[in-house]
Symmetry: C2
Subunit: 131 residues, 2 copies
Amino acid sequence: MTRNQLASFYQGYIDCLNRQAWDQLGEFVHPQVTHNAKPVGLAGYRGMLERDFREIPDLVFHIQLLIADPPNIASRLDFNVTPRGEFFGLPINGRKVKFAENVFYECVDGKISRVWSVIDTAAIAQQLGGD
Amino acid sequence: MTRNQLASFYQGYIDCLNRQAWDQLGEFVHPQVTHNAKPVGLAGYRGMLERDFREIPDLVFHIQLLIADPPNIASRLDFNVTPRGEFFGLPINGRKVKFAENVFYECVDGKISRVWSVIDTAAIAQQLGGD
């Protein structure tokens, strides 16, 4: 894929997540996908995302910055959401929080195969502490 | 800058940090640099880095994954270091910890102008909890 094709592919992936179109997830995610070096596979990856949407009913993925350099992608996602209960061990309980995720992807055979994600949980803790 | 020039420029920047060659930092970092949306400027940015080296005497920046898409760069840095005291509010006190930083840069006029960094503090907390 060229740089622009890879960027379009990634936007399609994010759109798939936001539509919760789980039956289409396999068009974007490799069967042997790893997440932070843990082999989760497509079913495990889907399970993680489904859980995220259960715990955060108003979850929307929004790309702030997209950097594509085939076969790799980096994306800064920003969230402005209302988790139900605990989130990363922090007691959110229905408050609105803003935070970012800086995430890297490596594609193999045209699909997301390795994901390295870091979520800014320190920013969330700071927002709770400021209440 | 082309993709390859930008990647070389970034490797030069990381080398500058590892040599603590603070007098050369202005060759890589814009005078009006921002860090996580906070305007710190070159002097403030240098101050942050100098403090990092004081608090972590064995600090080395190592690029695990570099994604260059002019004028943007994304880098996953991995650290295997021994902070002296507290680090992100966590009591490290000379233990060795491994963690990653996923960081994005935007260049303006050929220099790093905006930095969005997320450090995996959750991984550090987990290593302390596991002792």
